[in-house]
Amino acid sequence: MSENIKEQPDPEKNTTSRRDFLKLAGALAGAAGLAQIALSTMTASASSGGEEGKGPKWGMLIDINLCIGCQYCTFSCEAVNNLADDMRYCVVTTETTQSGKEFFLSRPCMHCDEAPCVHVCPVKATYKRPDGIVAMDYDLCIGCRYCQVACPYDARVFNWKEPIERSPQSPDFGLQEVPNRPRGVVEKCTFCSHRIDPGLKRGLIPGIDPQATPACVVACPTHARLFGDLSDPESSISVALAESKTTLRLREELSTEPRVYYIPPQTANRFQGS
């Protein structure tokens, strides 16, 4: 029983064993000598696009027509990641179409395929996982904030202060599920990879089983958000993407290839850049 408890991710106690392990690993890596590191650098993939191949590619589809602007996605994200109100990963803003109709734009991290933040990080603290998630190693981050400057979507937040005891949105929108990040590192949306990875091991399907789906998707009361595997044509998100006449990605002209798609408001015409 006690062993089981140890393996259970412990949201309340913020175990630091993983961090300690990484520190040890970092020290060993340093001791292993520069040659090996240089070798690993040379063999590392040059593109941030992750390794091409089989396996899921996670993506999100947000139907703007269904969004009622309740900000439940933001709140649940804050509760799960233990964020203060000024450190939101996911922001809901009110925008207008050309005809003046107001709509709500919910903006998480886009998990771009050509993520500027991955390209600019000087220490490989942020990286593209093979499944498309732009993840961060908080033990490597030096807090230079170049990724924040580089991100065209303002998706990154810096830990200016010490982590808070408990998010103002907890427990209403869930309990803390990931360890706190230290002061002085940049952090970001993870597509709730702490839910996806153990969920897959347990045989759950992210996007269908709520335990393996990002908190914002689960919390959305109107099901405006769909999450799933973009590489699987049978997944609900692929089907919805194929069915919808037009989809939209934010600032597509920057060729960052975001993995978050939007179904535009029905009355709007897509803005054409000059």
């Binding site: 309340e12 439940y72 427990p171 209403d172």
Partner: protein, 270 residues
């Protein structure tokens, strides 16, 4: 012999107590145990999930003996949590609606959804925090309705009803706690049996004035404070002394260039 007798009586008493315990206490505890597994109790859950358990403790569910495993069902295969079991809430139909069919039957259960909430897909936990069963977003003066119905709340905050101490649920749910959120025809009549009787407002302690027109009411509404838009004007705000400092530096160089001494002849050198 007496000594042996004493020991026998003692043993017999212990055996009786043990039998009592085994027969009476233990069965009641092992009711929910899955065969082959150690029974799980609240204190087992508390080891890890103390935050959730504390929320549950003061709730209606706790007084009604609806403990963790009533909603967080064990999988058929067994309960060796947390590795294999889907120790989790499966869906609202199999969880909340098992007991709350009378309350929610009218608005959430499938196609018969009558309320607008049900039609856009809201479920129980959209408004309720599942462990404490309280309403979400209700600390301080906040109310969960306001989160989505901002425009309605703006008008409501200046209404006579609000001043009389009524809130959304008084009309939209009524005494029966109907979750359809529909205001029935008879709802108004409950207070306004005689629509021309002003006493009811006076009794509520209201300063009765000429009624404002709806348009005027909206004008009276306070500006939303939480939606602080980014400043229209901005930029780098340097403190004034930096300008003075820079001015002295540049002015000094300029003055020296115009009226100063040539740098080739140091003053101490002559």
């Amino acid at each position: 012999m007496k000594k042996n007798q004493k020991i026998f009586v003692l043993l017999a008493t212990i055996a009786c107590i043990a039998a009592f315990v085994v027969l009476v206490v233990l069965p009641s505890q092992s009711v929910s145990a899955t065969p082959g597994h150690k029974p799980l109790e609240l204190k087992d859950c508390l080891v890890c999930h103390d935050q959730a358990a504390h929320l549950w403790e003061g709730s209606r569910h706790s007084s009604g003996n609806v403990s963790c495993i009533v909603c967080h069902k064990l999988a058929q295969s067994g309960g060796d949590h947390p590795d294999n079991a889907k120790y989790t809430v499966e869906s609202e139909e199999t969880t909340c609606l098992v007991c709350h069919i009378d309350v929610t039957g009218a608005d959430i259960s499938g196609e018969e959804a009558l309320s607008k909430h049900g039609r856009v897909g809201l479920t129980c936990i959209s408004c309720h925090e599942q462990h404490s069963q309280g309403l979400k977003l209700s600390e301080g003066s906040r109310i969960v309705c306001e989160n989505c119905h901002k425009k309605e709340m703006k008008v409501m905050l200046n209404s006579t009803h609000y001043k009389a101490g009524l809130s959304c649920v008084n009309c939209h749910m009524g005494d029966g706690k109907s979750h359809t959120m529909v205001v029935a025809l008879e709802t108004c009549g409950k207070c306004h049996a005689n629509p021309h009787d002003a006493n009811i407002m006076l009794e509520a302690g209201l300063d009765v004035k000429v009624m404002a027109t709806p348009a005027a009411m909206i004008e009276l509404t306070p500006k939303p404070t939480e939606e602080t838009a980014a400043p229209v004007s901005g930029g780098i705000n340097m403190p004034p002394w930096t300008l003075v400092f820079g001015g002295i530096l540049i002015g000094g160089v300029l003055a020296w260039a115009l009226v100063g001494r040539d740098p080739g002849n140091p003053s101490g050198n002559e």
